[in-house]
Amino acid sequence: MLLRLWLKEVFALSKKNASVLAKQHRAGWIYLAPASLLIVVMSFWPMIQAFLMSLKTGSSANMQWVEPIFYNYKRMFADKLFIRSVGNTFLYLIIQVPIMLVVAMLLAQMLNNKDLKFKGLFRTCVFLPCAMSLVSYSLIFKSMFATNGLINSVLLNLGLIEQNINFLGTTSTARAIIIVALVWRWTGYNMVFYLAGLQGIEYSVYEAAKIDGANAWQTFWRITVPLLKPTIVMTGIMSINGTLQLFDESVNLTSGGPANSTITMSHYIYQNSFGDFVANFGYASALSFVVFIMVAVLSAINLKVGDKRD
């Protein structure tokens, strides 16, 4: 239906007799219609449906309204596993994001030094982890940290441990490995943003600061950070957004284990809809709507904080 309407417009546009301005006006809308419609149908509409579904229970064909209507939302507060998945996700967020962004900024600063040699080589190396798919690197880390894996045999040979450690079978080390893996995969990614931002700052600004007697520390906080603020806010939003949606790592690196102690929110929602648990689309939708609100609220806070420091 919509497609036919759109095609009609396209034909009208190719006709000769329409006035030039009307044609241009139409052309603009025709260009952006397919993409806009797709976003509405593939993002906004499902979001509304997810909310409606969150007030129901069941899966696929036979879904019924729950009684009372917000039961699914009430249920999650008593759901220990969901609370734990929220806790895990925020633990990863709070530890990993600051470490990653600070290291990325440090690397960008170093690589922006015009006296540095082998710049291209270093940059390529640091950036390289971005070329690996999330599933691939999760499996590589899983194999390296396996009970009969590389890290264990190295530690054993060095005499640092007496017997193999079950890294992925112990809650604390499994969480730590997820964080290490995340930092490995995403630091170079963020570094690219900072490097692009730094290269946009005129060298003369630094020169002037030097003449005024500012040391490196002052230059960084008084010049670099304010000028890079939009980039820093954006990498912050992207990292928060990405970490709140962690899935591939939780599924492939630790499988959420041991005993679901490292499971993330997305992984838990997946388990409740398409995974190993009893499928309940209604409850899973309620959970996912909560994730949506968390992402929106945290992004808004980040934007606000970024604005204030002007």
């Binding site: 690996m132 599933v135 691939s136 194999s143 040979n157 943003f193 692009a196 997305s266 398409f274």
Partner: protein, 275 residues
């Protein structure tokens, strides 16, 4: 600058070099380990052997025996290729329309569309799964690409980069009697080659690496892409590390090749929408 001054600067940079070298080694090591592990037996990998072995062929034949490697590779190339072409066409048209034909209604629409960036993937998979399955598209390339062909990120990237497109030549072209569509295909597309390249690299990479959505809608063994194949290999009770790393190597090869050949475009694609 004198020679002495220069060597002084380099001397002061020694801590920087050390730090960068350590970070580089950490960044590269898992790749090196993947390569060596793919040539060793599972037992050697577990023992911590990190030099190249002689079992590459054996691992490769075992992999072929266990999984439909060529099928998954073909699927991945097909999905990622189709997604890249359609996404680029649709999003570049939109970015072009939003920037060069902009008025206040279109600007408003654009800022609404940007909100889609905040919609988490996991929040839409259930309704999208129902939609796709009711359209009988499960396990088809359409199921794979539909949610990913129009993204606010790509539209924004094309919109931002369209700012440098000279409006004067559009006027000149109109006076010469070129239709609106011809202006897009004959003038805009060639001028924006660099943006298309960057957008293509990032879209292809994302499609190649997609995991959660294909896990839901491409459940048929014959339809599975590479990331699912390696995830399945690793999910077994006893994992053969040599075979697994051989598969991971195959999954990573295309993206690594793109990375090394088109690193500049990749970096631009990542930071694309920021200007």
């Amino acid at each position: 600058m004198t020679k002495k001054g220069r060597s002084n600067i380099q001397r002061r940079l020694i801590p920087t070099y050390i730090f960068l070298t350590i970070v580089s080694l950490i960044s590269v090591f898992p790749f090196y380990w993947m390569l060596t592990a793919a040539t060793n037996t599972s037992l050697e990998v577990a023992r911590g052997k990190i030099i190249f072995g002689t079992h590459a062929v054996e691992n490769f034949t075992n992999l072929l025996a266990q999984q439909n490697l060529w099928g998954a590779l073909k699927n991945s190339f097909w999905y990622a290729g189709v997604q890249t072409i359609i996404a680029l066409l649709i999003c570049s048209l939109a970015g072009y329309g939003f920037e060069l034909y902009h008025d206040k209604y279109k600007d408003k629409l654009f800022s609404i569309l940007l909100l889609a960036m905040m919609v988490p993937q996991v929040a839409t998979i259930i309704p999208l799964f129902k939609m796709v399955s009711s359209m009988k598209l499960l396990n088809s390339v359409w199921a794979f690409i539909l949610p990913a062909i129009s993204t606010p990120f790509l539209i924004m990237m094309f919109r931002q980069n369209s700012r440098s497109f000279p409006i004067d030549i559009m006027e000149a072209a109109r006076i010469d009697g070129l239709s609106e569509f011809k202006i897009f295909f004959k003038m805009y597309m060639p001028v924006m080659k660099a943006t298309y390249a960057a957008a293509a690299v990032i879209t292809f990479m994302n499609a190649w690496n997609a995991y959660m959505w294909p896990k839901v809608v491409m459940s048929d063994n014959g339809a599975q892409p590479m990331p699912r194949l390696i995830a399945n290999l690793a999910a077994g009770y006893s994992v053969d590390y040599g075979v697994l790393m051989m598969a991971v190597l195959f999954c990573s090869c295309p993206t690594l090749i793109i990375f090394f050949i088109l690193q500049k475009q990749f970096a631009e694609g990542i930071t694309g929408a920021v200007k």
